[in-house]
Symmetry: D2
Subunit: 383 residues, 4 copies
């Protein structure tokens, strides 16, 4: 199988998430970094590219140069896709330009700052047919796919309630304004957008619910707070949700909960049973039912659904974790890219990745949550 | 030390909680059942009293007869207190009558149906000086008292957020209308009051927060739902809370969450650290801080506060649980009764029990939560 | 139901386990302390008796006086049983005297110092028909009884292996010789017998295996160590075991494992499945099988065996713990005593308590373990 | 940094561990597969190489051809090392040939079948200076390195006891002789060597203890059992150990413990504290001490040792697992190879990988364990 060639925008020296993307892609040996514009600082971009062994001709100081250069190259050399791992505010221009050029895109989340921007991307993709994936990486965990299967095949009955939490504590004090690059941009509205914690991590929580349950939000009641003095964006969010099927939801996303590391967890309650999953213990899924004792389903053990099995590399008890889940998102997107380039339909189980629609819905979720937080009405309807 | 004599109203054959109260009192050998009106059905009341070895003369068919009889008895024979363990709607008349008669009262929760009733009780108590305890039994756990100590001594800094949950699943289907006596009265407005899950277990959650943190609710935003068709009261409640110090809260109380047994848990986040406690694993308290690795505090181990130590009967690793916590509430109330009868002030650490004020606040919490759930305004202010 | 009258030998002021026994008996209101010789120090004995409200006439300075006095009393006043909670060396003379007098005995473990002594007790019991229970209290946990049921009904297939551990750390430093009364006698051969940790807690581990599985030891290979300088008895023991059915065992009992509180745990592996239970989390039992995902069985939930149900007072999620397990042992012994006094056979499920045979086997276990530890042969056969 | 070129022997289609090695190496992008002899079946070897994109000229049917070919190539093309991932019996001839040729070797464990073979390898390495790593992969976990640091810096005081377990259940029934290739060779003495479970996984347990504690075994007392009828090697092993410093050990390695997946866990007890680590929950390390409450150390959080920090790719709460630990072993070996090729000494923290000495000691451990199991003497001395 030919390795897919990719370029990266962002992800240079000192960046956090770019290296994660590269390792996730490297893991299975199906993707190869061949070009980049790895920082908004041209010097740093090129130094970072050299670190990664990029050829000088494909190691760019500006992402526009990267795009120009790629468009000049022949099909057997040109990148198969662009991976965008910049701070949020750069997602839109870069993704739009590449999508308009017909180049497949993998973009970090939250997708863009506004729903209008998301629509622009949708139009571009519709026109060019580019594959567009958004790295809601937590959906790549095998046991998340197992949960999705169990909900969607009716094993829980009708869903009544979802509790999703994303508990972090790293921003419990004011780290921004110092030397913490991550804290800086994530709390800066010009780069992060209109939301802090609810955008950075709440959007993952929203996506996890939607991915597993398929429930659609009917209305949001949000309380967003900025606890740390001087901070410009929310660092704590607590939401009540109503879904169109009548289900109720609670969504908690906080970055001031000391003791929380990356504590994303979800509980789903139906008329017949429930599921509980925890990202920090990702190889297990707890299944309770009306009639039997609760069961512990484990990644790699027997009886799991094909999508979970496909997303599994190691036997039970040999834990897989964050990188592998991330890699699964790329594998699914890569399948779609191969199908596109071969002009064929996706096979069964192929193309299992979060799409532009997920990204756009996530942007809308952030907008409406912020709107709700400012509203005195209890419920802000989805629109 | 003289055993305190008590009578019980409610708690006859087939009742659940009456036997719990009796075992809790028996555990430490400081209290002795001497009289009762153990059921609203006089026949059953007397049969139940015979089961428990009550003398015929003090085994009554009606609680009014019990009261009359006690008032005729001399001080060295009369009960020290009445323990009221009936369904909710009987709390008010019984508690009021005994309190007005100057007899100490221990009453189950939620205290009464309305704040007006709670005020009546307060007036009676104020006039007669009767000790009045409400069995918010979860506050009796040693590690809850340790948590209270840590918060109130500032070890967590200023409190920013509290997440409290009470997850149950036993009412996920329609049990009422069959032979489940517990389900029957707890879902019946005439006996349970205006609220279902939020009254039955949400009130415990409210009390746990107040006991540990001392925070005062400023406003409530509640979503109450009845999921099971035909049920008359809410079986699921999700609340956002604002406290007067600026802290935020989430309160979840549900009886349709399949897999939940009696899953009361609380997390408290301050500027300096956090605590997490879980009623089903009650001998441990997790303490995270800004500066150190999280620690596991265990009941019976070194370094705990005097109130936790006092509430402990067994060494570390020899688990104590529900009965012991319940017993601690009675011990605290018993101390107050002894002090009253000896006309002396309570000693340090004495009289650690939930009071009428706790009970009244719990009733107000239920009223405002139901009001909020019906309101289209986001926030219903505490009043 | 008439309360059983009991007297206690040992368990006075500052004793640990006596109060546990009394609370366990008090919990269900079926047993009543009426007499005692609560310390080997007559003054302290009487002061302790006064603390507990004993009448002067039945509050003795010496256990011999207690026995003499009881034998003079009429049947409707005389104690139904003696509860012996002294340090180990006093078990033998007291138990023998009461058993020979035909009075029922409940005796703490390990039963006695030597198998010869155990035989003397057996002869006495055989002659007089006295009920004799040994408080291997951990067998009273409902989930231990569930485990026993599952093994004995074949749900695990044939048992291949058992791993049992009793991990404590409280004797990791030299506490004896100071003011720690517990440490003093438990490390003193004249009071504790020939073994330290292996006698004090290893015997519980042995009993737990035997109770649940019914396996019989074929041979023992023991390594006993005294880690703390100056200590006179072992404080750490590690054993390999062979059972007569071909199963293998590992038994660990240590009091120098820092971090261990009262960490008794057992895992049982059969040809069809396995069980795991942990005393510090006693309301759960983990069941794995060849064919399905592992299940978590919980006390109070549906589908448990009658013996587990009978041993349960509270619904699922309302945790029961150490006192309740202890109480269950007394309840079972009490049933046997009532049956004896009524000259009738035990009913189904009645009389579920550890017997003199358990106690005697435990003594033999200690003897052979110590013998094995001194031997250069790998296997010391059971004899 | 130049990518290291490697060839692989074994690891073709249907093999399990070869793909793990390749993913581990790919993760960090520092190593590149350029040649191979991927199966003992030449056809399958070449087909497997084509799957992995090997050039025909470097895709061999026999490992001898691979070696011959490499020796003909120039230094700037020749592999930097050989990765040996065959069944055990092929480790010796392949490793010896490459080491004698001066080519660096990474070899799976257990190293070889006999100590004599291990000595041959040592002589070859001594003569040629080849780097030789053995993939005891569990030592690559950051929290294992943290544990090693804490023991070796004296934070636990003197080590008294180690309990190490490797619990698996996958061989609880007879899988060999069917279509399970893994079960086949691992239970076949001609390929696996003289030991089954104790060689396959017990050797990991031995290595984990040695790596973390540095303790040296003084004597072994082993009980090895074959539970599954018809199986040729042990499937369950239970060992008592004595270390030269007086510490005691228990080692359990079983493949018939139903419910066990890959449950490697270790507890280490010293005079000042203890540690507990579990491979299936690898990002946490529990630290208990004589004086404080137990602490939970987490990968990626503050205060860990430099070796743990270096082995960490992701922030706290973003779990790393099996692949990353494996990759850390390769990273350490790669550092040693680079230092060798640059003829320089290793820097601080460089070259952290299990060596030939670890491998040889592991072989001796297996030999003596099997010898002990056959012996009637309790203790088989290390020799």
């Amino acid at each position: 199988m030919r390795r897919l060639r990719y370029a990266m925008v962002g992800g240079g020296r000192d960046a956090f998430i770019g290296a994660v993307h590269r390792r996730a892609m490297a893991l299975d040996g199906q993707m190869e970094l061949v070009a980049g514009a790895l920082s908004s600082d041209p010097e740093k971009a090129r130094a970072s590219g050299r670190d990664l062994g990029l050829a000088d001709a494909r190691n760019h100081g500006r992402w526009q140069d990267l795009l120009d250069d790629e468009l000049k190259r022949s099909a057997d050399e040109r990148i198969d896709f662009i991976s965008i791992v910049t701070p949020n505010h750069m997602h839109y221009p870069v993704a739009l330009a590449f999508a308009q050029a017909g180049i497949n895109v993998v973009c970090d989340k939250p997708l863009v700052h506004t729903s209008t921007q998301a629509e622009d991307l949708a139009h571009a993709v519709q026109r060019t047919g580019a594959v567009f994936a958004v790295t809601y990486n937590y959906t790549g965990y095998p046991m998340v796919r197992q949960a999705r299967h169990m909900v969607q095949s009716g094993q829980l009955g009708e869903i009544r309630k979802v509790i999703v939490e994303y508990n972090q504590g790293w921003l419990a004090t004011k780290l921004e304004g110092g030397d913490n690059k991550q804290a800086d941009w994530r709390t800066d509205p010009s780069r992060s957008g209109i939301a802090g914690a609810i955008g950075d991590i709440g959007s993952h929580a929203e996506n996890l619910v939607a991915t597993i349950t398929g429930l659609e939000i009917e209305a949001i009641c949000a309380d967003l707070t900025t606890f740390v003095p001087g901070r410009k964006l929310d660092d704590d969010g607590n939401l009540l949700l109503r879904y169109t099927n009548g289900a109720r939801g609670v969504l908690i996303a906080s970055q001031i909960e000391i003791g929380g590391e990356n504590d994303l967890r979800i509980r789903i309650f139906g008329t017949q049973g429930s599921l509980a999953w925890h990202q920090e213990d990702p190889n297990r899924l707890l299944h309770a039912s009306l009639t039997d004792s609760p069961r512990i389903l484990t990644r790699g053990s027997g009886g799991l659904c094909p999508a979970a099995v496909k997303a599994t590399r190691l036997p039970a008890g040999h834990p897989e974790a964050f990188h592998e889940a991330f890699a699964n998102v790329y594998l699914g997107a890569g399948e779609a890219m191969r199908a596109r380039s071969e002009d064929r339909a996706l096979g069964a189980l192929e193309g299992d990745y979060p799409t532009l629609a997920d990204g756009a819905r996530g942007v809308r979720f952030i907008e409406l949550t912020v709107e709700s937080a400012k509203s005195e009405a209890k419920w802000t309807p989805w629109s």
